[in-house]
Symmetry: C2
Subunit: 361 residues, 2 copies
C-alpha cells in the first residue's frame, strides 16, 4: 500500500499499530468467533472492552474518582445543546470565551437556552489569538465558563487553564485531548469528539464532576441528560461499541508510548518542525496565529502569493501529503498533526515546504 | 477461527462477506492509503461512500424521491425525543400502538412532550400479540400514529401496515428493516437503529417524507431537528463515518443477494425451521407469541421445565450457539435471526433443540 501522510483535521490519522490490531481481530475478537461489531453490548466481551477503555482513559488523564467518564454519541455538537439543559437554568448566564469557529457554534446553541456573556473574544483579529485572561469580563454568577482549548480552524490553543473563580469550567477539548497532560480536577467537565486524538467519529467522551449531575432541567430529553449515561455506565442504550473499542485500543497505545507527558514532548517536537519551516521562509509562508498561542495540533499557514496555492497542493498530493487545504475562513493550508501523525510526516511536509519555497520564491 | 452462530438481539451477526471486505480494506480503502476511519468526512472518498450508501438503500426499499434518507446518531432512543419536537405541538395528541418494550420506551419519552393516546395495547397478555386494527381507538386529530413493527423482546411482528386515515404513520423498524419489502410511501417516517439488520451500532437511519420537515418546535435542539440533517445531507456535523461505510457494504450485499423479496423468502424459511422445532416438541418448548404475529426476526421460547434452562444454554454454548438467553421479562430463550443469520444457524439450533427435547423430555 502507498505510504501517505494524512493531515486531515478530523476524522484523522490513527496509529498504524491500532489499525493493524483492529484488522487482525476484525472477524474474531479474542477467540470469541465474533467481530466486536457483532457482540451484544450486554455481554461479557464488550463489558470488558468498555471497562478497559474507561480504566485506561482514567489512567492517562489521572481522572479523579469523583469524575464520571461517559461515552456518548452525537459528537461535540450534541453536547452544545446538552450544556444548558444540564448545567444552566433558563434565567442564568453562561460565560464564554470566543476564540473561533467552535466557540461560536457552542455559543450559538447555548444562547438559545440561556443568557450568554462573551467574557472575551478574539474576533477583532480573525480569531488569531487567545485573549489575555486579565482582560476577561466575567459575569458575577455564571452557571459555567466555557472555552475551546484548541480551535482547529484558527490553529489557536490555550496554553493555560483559566481560573475557576468558583464557577465550573467546561472545556471543549475535541482537538487536543490526550495531546498533553491536563489537570482534570480544575474542570467541571471536559468533553471531546473522538475523531481527532481518540478514534473514529461517532464516539464522544465526557469527563464530568459528579457534583454537577442531577440538576438537569425537567424538560431535558432523556438522551441529552448526562445523568442518564452516568447512572447506566454509558449503557442506557446501545453504545457505539465498535468506536469505543477502537478508542480503547488508542488509549492502550498512548499508554504504551509513555502516556501524555511523552505525547506532549513528541507533539512539541513535531509542531516545531513545521513552525520552523514557516518562520525560516522569509515571508514565503505565514502563520496567522499569535506566537504564544500557536496550536500544536493544527497549523494553518498561507502563501504570500495565493496564486501558488493550487500548485502547492498538487505537489503535496504527488508526494502523498494529503488533506492540506486550509479552511475557507483562513485560506491557504492547514496541517493537522494529531498524536498519530509521526514526526516523519512533519519532516516530509517541512522538506516539501522548503523545496517549494526555494523553487518558487 | 471457531465457527459460531450468534443469536444476539443486537448488535448482531453481520454478513461474513461484509466483514471480510471491511478487514481487507481496513488499512487502505481503494488505494487511498487511508482507513475509512481516517478520512475527512468532507473529502471525495467519504463523499462517495455516503452517496452510494444512500443510493443503495433507496434502491433496496424503493424509496420515493420525496423522502429524505438521513444517517443519524443516538440510536432509536434519541429519536424517541426527536419525534415530538419535530412532529407534534405541545398541545397535540399522538396515537400509539403499544405492543411491548420498545413501544413503551417511545411512549414514555413522547408523553413528556405531548399528549399520548394509547390507541391499542397488548399489555393484557404480556405483549404476546398485535391488537386487531379494527379495535384501535384512534384520536381525531393525532399529530401522528406511532408503532414498532417488530418487538425484539416479545417476538411480535406486524404483518400489515396500519391505515393512515390521513395521519402520518411513524414506525420504529429497528429490528426488521430490510428483512422484507415495505411500501415506504405509506409512512410519514420510518426509523431504525443499524445494529440489527444494517450494520454496527452508532448509526441510525430515518426515511422521512420531506413534507413533514421544517415544522419543528422553536426550542428544538439543532441536533434533534431532522431538518438539520436533511438540509446538510447528513453532514451537518461529523457523521459516524465508519458505521455508515459498513452499513453501505451491507446494503450492497443485500442487493447482490436479490434484494428484500429474496431476504423475505430466506427469513420465512429460517423462522419456520425454528417455529417447527418448537411446535413439534409436544409442549417441551413454548413460544408465547400469537401464531399470526410471530416475528421472523426474534423467536422467544420457554422450556416447560424452566429448571432445564441453564443446562439448555450450557449445551448450546458448547455447540457454539451463542447469546440465546431470553430477556428477563419473557424468560427462557430468544433466538434472534436477522438477515445475516444463515439458514445453517437455524438448522443447527433446531437440531440441538430436538436433541435436547429428546434426551430431557
Amino acid at each position: 500500500m502507498t505510504q501517505v501522510f494524512n493531515f486531515s483535521s478530523g476524522p484523522a490519522v490513527l496509529p498504524p499499530e491500532v489499525l493493524r490490531q483492529v484488522q487482525a481481530e476484525l472477524l474474531d475478537w479474542h477467540g470469541s468467533g465474533m467481530s466486536v461489531m457483532e457482540m451484544s453490548h450486554r455481554g461479557p466481551e464488550f463489558g470488558q472492552i468498555l471497562a478497559e477503555a474507561e480504566a485506561d482513559l482514567r489512567t492517562l488523564l489521572a481522572i479523579p474518582a469523583n469524575y464520571k467518564v461517559l461515552f456518548l454519541q452525537g459528537g461535540a455538537h450534541l453536547q452544545f445543546a446538552m450544556l444548558p439543559f444540564n448545567f444552566a437554568a433558563a434565567d442564568s448566564t453562561v460565560d464564554f470565551v470566543n476564540t473561533g469557529h467552535w466557540s461560536k457554534v457552542a455559543i450559538k446553541e447555548v444562547s438559545r437556552y440561556a443568557k450568554v456573556n462573551i467574557a472575551a473574544s478574539s474576533e477583532d483579529k480573525n480569531f488569531s489569538y487567545v485573549p489575555d485572561e486579565s482582560t476577561w469580563q466575567r459575569s458575577k454568577d455564571a452557571a459555567f465558563l466555557h472555552y475551546c482549548s484548541n480551535e482547529t480552524i484558527g490553529g489557536v490553543e490555550f496554553n493555560f487553564i483559566p481560573k475557576s473563580n468558583g464557577v465550573p469550567l467546561i472545556c471543549d477539548m475535541s482537538s487536543n485531548i490526550l495531546s498533553r497532560p491536563v489537570d482534570v480536577s480544575q474542570f467541571g467537565m471536559i468533553y471531546a469528539g473522538a475523531q481527532k486524538n481518540m478514534g473514529p467519529s461517532g464516539v464522544a467522551v465526557s469527563i464530568v464532576d459528579e457534583a454537577l449531575l442531577g440538576k438537569a432541567r425537567s424538560e431535558t430529553p432523556t438522551m441529552l441528560n448526562y445523568k442518564t449515561f452516568a447512572d447506566n455506565g454509558s449503557m442506557y442504550n446501545t453504545p457505539p461499541s465498535f468506536g469505543i473499542y477502537v478508542a480503547g485500543l488508542v488509549y492502550k497505545h498512548v499508554l504504551a508510548q509513555g502516556g501524555l507527558a511523552a505525547m506532549e514532548a513528541k507533539n512539541i517536537e513535531k509542531a516545531n518542525v513545521l513552525y520552523a519551516a514557516i518562520d525560516a521562509s522569509s515571508g514565503f509562508y505565514h502563520c496567522p496565529t499569535a506566537l504564544a498561542d500557536r496550536s500544536r495540533m493544527n497549523i494553518p499557514f498561507t502563501l504570500a502569493d495565493s496564486k501558488l496555492d493550487a500548485e502547492f497542493l498538487a505537489g503535496a498530493e504527488a508526494r502523498h501529503l494529503l488533506q492540506l487545504k486550509g479552511h475557507r475562513s483562513v485560506g491557504g493550508m492547514r496541517a493537522s498533526i494529531y498524536n498519530a501523525m509521526p514526526l516523519a510526516g512533519c519532516q516530509a511536509l517541512a522538506d516539501y515546504m522548503n523545496e517549494f519555497a526555494r523553487t518558487k520564491g
